[in-house]
Subunit: 201 residues, 2 copies
């Protein structure tokens, strides 16, 4: 800004809001003004909710999920099938898969993917914890649900290698046409995979 | 979510973040996870900044700007030309005009536009305060910088009417082709205005 037009506390709030993913400098200003206009309904409650999250948030020492208890809600859910484990890159993937309601299993969050160029090796991911869990002998199937990227697939291969001596079924998500997707807009790799994995009607 | 996968405090944080303009339910989850991952660098400072804004924010009783002091930084800036007043709908417009650095004047925030369908009449806007300021006798020119919408123009006409007895010059922003804009994408109204207000090169 050419000149100061508001208080330093409000400028500080705008600067911090601009670092939230989904907001940029312009939308951070809009967001700050909206929060100020909705002071009682939004700014106050959000400030408290952030303070409470700051005080209470924990990373589950077993699966890597984000929660306010450790072990987390998912790990201590007795109604889940503990013989199946879905391995994901990130907590957001765990939450996305849970929203489908399709499975009722345990999870394991790696915390990223192998990426030698970024200096991320096996020790930077929660792979040791995964092998320990499998060695407990309860898990019968591991579904590796990593992103269909080069890094994701490299990580999947590495995990499969590490588990090669253990008697556990390892599966991965199917490739194919997204539901609602138009063939015209899909890449050749997806179409090839969908053709190869075609099913009888 | 089909089942609870995280703590109620974190779900509450996500719900509140989803009410911030620019974020929806999906990006609120992404934002919450990012805040939690950057707990010390972002979640803590943002929580404090919101708390401080909540405690200190004030609406300037003279011009309607948002600040932590009243009268605000703009109203008490002795280097501004107090004989010119820019009238805007919203605080965000004041900030946007200030970022241009083009003018160095006083401001007046109406707090919206006249909109009979939404039940917003003259008494719901800060028009009385504007007339009082003009009656002080210092202001020589009022630039009405409201949006080029029907409501904005209606409000501009109403203000001009209200000030008709007072010796003050009233101007409005020019219409024309936006800088960097392509004629092909502009509406007929803008092109007509740009043609009528053409200038000699």
């Amino acid at each position: 800004m050419a000149k100061r037009v508001t208080g330093p506390e409000i400028e500080k709030l705008i600067q911090l809001l601009a670092k939230v993913p989904g907001l940029g400098p312009r939308s951070a200003r809009r967001a700050a003004l909206h929060l100020i206009k909705k002071k009682e309904q939004l700014l106050g409650p959000l400030s408290s909710a952030m303070g409470e999250a700051y005080d209470k948030v924990k990373i589950c020492s077993r699966c890597g999920n984000v929660d306010t208890v450790d072990p987390c809600t998912v790990c201590t859910d007795l109604h889940r099938d503990q013989t199946m484990l879905i391995v994901v890159e990130d907590v957001s993937d765990l939450w996305a898969l849970e929203r489908t309601g399709a499975m009722n299993t345990a999870y394991h969050v790696l915390g990223g993917t192998l990426s030698p160029l970024d200096g991320i090796g096996p020790d930077d991911l929660n792979i040791r914890g995964l092998i320990d869990r499998v060695n407990e002998g309860v898990i019968r199937e591991i579904i590796i649900a990593v992103n269909a990227t080069v890094e994701g697939q490299t990580t999947a291969h590495y995990i499969t290698d590490q588990l090669s001596g253990i008697d556990v079924k390892i599966t991965r998500l199917a490739h194919g046409v997204p539901v609602g997707g138009e063939l015209d807009y899909l890449d050749e790799g997806t179409l090839t995979a969908a053709l190869r994995a075609r099913t009888v009607i």
